[in-house]
Symmetry: C2
Subunit: 344 residues, 2 copies
């Protein structure tokens, strides 16, 4: 393939209008063409996408996404984090052959016009796909949310929802490394098994088998919860509020249970924020990219020492993207969902 | 009245069982007797109550109040903040004749067994009743909640609910003194008038006349809200969440709209905490009493300079307590509700 050559480019688009829950048929595979060239004077880069991450996010109507950093926007090629190889660059920081991770799109080739959230990959003695997960956005989310927002202390009681997911599994391991007691919830017995036997959570439970989440939390946290790493929202948050300890911290990372609802569920127990002096803080990983170098050093060291493991569910080919995203919302993915676009 | 003399002691009790909303008939006036003596070796003090505050608080079932700092507990003499005079003291820090403010009870004479939250009053060239309000717990709540929790900056957009209440009127004045733009909501046109013309709020509105709180907030905050001082909870909080700006702060001081409900209303818009990176933090004034001396110096200076005003609704006699508390929950009090127990 020569530079500037026009090639065919498979893409996954979200239709203009999405009603109700996201369905596989809301996404279409199309075939466009792309010049393998970053226009001169554009400061853009032209990349070949190798791995693409499947992230649970709100579906956003066309043109309304300006209030949220990282939506799935109707009427566009789906955007998302990925690992890519530079084929052509008009940007001084990147050159042909560089590997990088950051914001790209669900297609074979992408012209990245403003490579603001793109990081060069220097360390390749780990699986390259890890840069969509443990060494990428989910890893940094876990790091920022847990250490910066939750201010953990040794011996504290930590609860993580959606704990086997891309972010949760890392938070749990951070908590154990800090000397905390950590319990995770997940949506299948297989995931619960992973949490306890692979990621080293002290306890874990299948929330789908609990008809009373409050009672479940009281069973695992007879003394209450100091830190809640929030990934799901809704009923789980309501039950957690009843079980928080005084001066507890809740970091809001995601609310996957709510993204596909027309109206979000009501949370009734917020008065606990006052009586228990709880700090609840939402965060967006984009505000913490300046911490990435520190974070990366720490994680690479942990991986080298065998202190950090990571589970991925890698599917082959862009064609698998839509069904994988649907499986993710349905809770049928174990670990980080990744699409392998090419093995070349 | 001699020391140790047994005197009759009017008291207001809450009945053992309270169902549904608090009613005037849930409170009874009874007449006990009290020895005007602090038992030797008890470290207690015996006080005559002069002013008693009416505070909106959750009603708590008998024996269940251990999870909350300052409830109205069924089956007991109603507890509350007040201004009192020491008649006898077995405590080294207090002596006969001292004036003090702090936690006492709705009765003529109280034996304060652990005067932990009692402050000696040194400055008496302000109305003594102010120590139930501007110079007491509500003042310190406004100070801690606004300055410590909300970290205000000059020019920020501040919204205060229940803004003409004991705490709200002070928060609004703090916000103006900081150079913020401040809007308050209240439940009558008279209160709205006070907010704008007495307390110097930039704008104010009667929430009962707004069928769409979101639209009302958008009218007063076209650029959004940086700081929300939360006194009411429920629907107002939901509307505020839609109008917060990025990196906004919400301090949870009270949720008066919810205290009389069997189940608290659901709050649906919490996902905004994440997308807008909002910090929402509850607080209880008891954690901030160490700041009282700094706070008092500041406010006395402001009063002297004419920079701080305060409105009270003072009723005469313990007998007026129950109806005043009901008027408070119904939103029929303007300013700080105070019971004057004695003028002697």
């Amino acid at each position: 393939m020569g530079k500037g050559e026009e090639v065919s480019n498979k893409q996954v688009l979200l239709k203009d209008s999405v009603y109700g829950s996201l369905k596989e048929t809301d996404m279409v595979l199309s075939r466009g063409t792309t010049h393998l060239k970053a226009p001169q004077g554009s400061k853009a880069i032209l990349v070949k996408n190798i791995y693409l991450a499947c992230d649970p996010r709100p579906i956003w109507s066309k043109g309304l996404s300006n209030t949220i950093d990282y939506p799935i926007e109707a009427g566009s090629v789906i955007s998302g984090f990925g690992v890519s190889k530079v084929l052509d660059s008009d940007h001084p920081d990147f050159k042909e052959g560089d590997l990088m991770w950051g914001m790209t799109r669900w297609e074979e080739y992408s012209l990245i016009e403003t490579p603001k959230f793109m990081f060069k990959i220097h360390n390749t003695d780990v699986p390259l796909s890890y840069y969509t997960g443990l060494l990428g956005m989910p890893g940094l989310s876990a790091y920022a949310g847990f250490f910066e927002i939750c201010s953990p202390k040794k011996g504290e009681y930590v609860f993580v929802s959606s704990a086997s997911g891309a972010v949760g599994q890392i938070v749990g391991q951070f908590a154990k490394l800090m000397g905390c007691y950590v319990v995770g919830s997940a949506g299948s017995d297989d995931k619960v098994d992973l949490l306890k036997n692979k990621f080293g959570f002290d306890e874990a439970f299948n929330y789908k088998k609990e008809h009373d989440l409050d009672a479940a939390l009281k069973r695992y946290f007879p003394n209450g919860i100091d830190i809640y790493f929030e990934n799901v929202g809704g009923k789980m948050l309501d039950a957690v509020l009843l079980n928080m300890r005084q001066h507890g911290r809740i970091s809001g990372c995601g609310m996957i249970s709510q993204y596909n609802l027309e109206q979000h569920e009501g949370v009734h127990n917020l008065f606990n924020l006052i009586t228990k002096r709880i700090r609840m803080e939402g965060f967006v990983v984009f505000d913490y990219f300046h911490l990435y170098p520190n974070f990366l050093d720490l994680i690479l060291q942990y991986i080298k020492e065998g202190k950090m493991v990571y589970i991925e569910d890698i599917v082959e080919g862009l064609e698998s993207g839509p069904s994988t995203l649907i499986r993710l919302y349905a809770g049928h993915i174990v670990g980080r969902a990744v699409i392998c676009v090419t093995t070349e």
